[in-house]
Amino acid sequence: MSEADERAIVRSEIRWAVVAIAAVSVIMLAVIFAAIAMHINPPSNVERINPQDLHLSAEFTEANLGTKVEANGQITARIVATQFAFVPRCVVLPADRPVTLRFSSPDVIHGLLVSGTNVNTMVVPGYVSQVHTVLRKTGDLLMPCHEYCGLGHSEMSGTIRVVPSAQFRPGPDGRVACAAK
């Protein structure tokens, strides 16, 4: 063992450190490329809203919830996450078009994912969580609450109903709701 010269040891460690740093740099470059060129960033709009009168304030009042095609053509779904349901429970959205989902909570922390998509966000009381996506698959997608919100957490689940773009027909007020199945 004594022939293992100390300087050789240090050299080998430095060589490896260079390899390790290079590997980590490649990963970081991939993340930066995805962020800048492909706009893959986490939902981070930092938009404050008072949770204590959420259902009385303008945007998340009952009449305003669900899917709406705005005057400029933008498609937005507004959903309240509350113990232990999403309101509305079902939301219709068109496939293959850019859509925006906006969530807020009047009570505790919730979270959600939409199965088979990259829609994933926390819903923290005091903030609006906003996700932009293009849904590729049609059908009823699961939208479960994925953050512990109390003893009824397991029951909290909603539906995103993705319909082919041609079948997405907003009413005169720009609104679309899930038809009873």
């Binding site: 980590v24 893959i40 986490p42 981070s44 966000t121 969580s129 994925h146």
Partner: protein, 540 residues
Amino acid sequence: MPQNRRLILAHLWVAFSVFVLAAALGVWQMWVRSPLAAPQDTPARYYQSVTGHGVSMAYVLTTFFIMGFGYFTAETALKTPLPSARWAWAGFWTALAGVAMTVAAILSGQASVLYTFYPPMTATPWFYVGLVLVVVGSWIWVAVMLVAMARFKRANPGAPVPLAMYATVANAIMWLWTTAGVSAEILFQILPAVFGWTQTIDVGLSRTLFSWTLHAIVYFWLFPAYIAFYTMAPRAAGGRLYSDTMGRLSFVLFLLYSLPVGMHHLFMDPEHSTGFKFIQMSLTALVSIPTLLTVFTISASMELAGRLRGGKGLFGWIKALPWERPMVLATGLAFFMLWFGGGGGLINMSYGMNAMVHNTAWVTAHFHLIFGGTVVIMYFAIAYEIWPSLTGRAPLSVATQRLQLWLWAIGMMVMTLPWHYLGLQGQWRRVASFNYADPRIGPWGPLVIVSLAGGVLLLVSAVMFVMNLLPRRAQVRLPEQGYSFALAVHPPQRVPAALNGFTVWNVLVAILMLVAYGFPILQFFIGNSPQAVIHPLTGG
């Protein structure tokens, strides 16, 4: 031979007893989530159990093990008794009183908020007060470790602090920094709310403070495993540590980069901007470097040992290693699982890909693999290794130790591989039951049952572990023996002051924390930060 054997054993026995109970709870939880009919299957029982499992594994097993192992290391590496056994016992009883209080709170059903709390949901005050006492007990341990190292340096001017002790103190200092976040959350936000002095809570702030703690605490748990890699495994393999300096450097890098990275738990949160998420992601990438350095240094140490034992060729040295020794076997299994767990961690860290896995079973799989597969398996190996010098008796036969370690590793892989896959399929976390009648969920059933089988193996292994350590009648008493840590190929005569103390590193931690968490915390004190009404779990 350590002087305060009863002190060390008291800590380790609290850790291991709680561990076995928590393992049993874990198996029951998987049973409830599976398509099979389980007893006591109600959400209230389920979340009570998840809280008990998380608190026991994350706060009790780890903290008590680390304190006990720290006292052992201080006495054996520095070859002097602890500066104050009385304070050490005071820390033990404080923490144990905290555990009793927390367990009583969980048993009452008034504390099913999981070990990560989730305010504005709140539990009975005793749950939090108990946890504060556990932390206060651990702070006493930190003080004893700091004084022990300071006394050694005063008595041996210029001599290098032995690597095992240097690493233990690095962990103690990191723990002080780590606990600042959760302590602030509990003392300034949660306790005023649960005692009824305030009616609302700033949830963005509480999540941010908890995130301060949430990643570094994992490295607090991991440190003993790395201490064993550097200072126990090379000697157990019949060789020496390749480089003492790289060991010191790795531990310092852990101290630096474990802390300013906690926001990667908040990538999907709405209260932080992309910019700070990006900064903390970049720092998270850096924390993989000390692990990669460790993999290299320990593999090189093992290669030296293998070649000394006659191993030839590119891979012959691996075969020549004494795999029959529990410490060597555990190190090999831990490294194997670290590749999977660490690889998964790199995916979680990439903030674009995080959207695919956040709060799915993938994450549960990731941290069980790192915690169970790398941390706890090394706790087993350390216990087997130090037991003779603590009790004067060897643990049960080496063959049963090996069987126990193999069962643990196989159980961990059988449990977590299906979880990883299910997570990618979108199986979400923290639910007491799935509706397997739903055709979108039904196909998950068989894999959930496979993971339950892995859990059963883990429970068998956990019980075997404690049986291996229990004293038995007619057991041969060994002659009194000390414990020696592994020597380096070139044991250091002198080390640079920076690698023999922590002053400069503490300054760097402070700067990094200011950059990473300064504005993210300050923003909650600017303008009208939203306040959420507190929600007592059981209606107050």
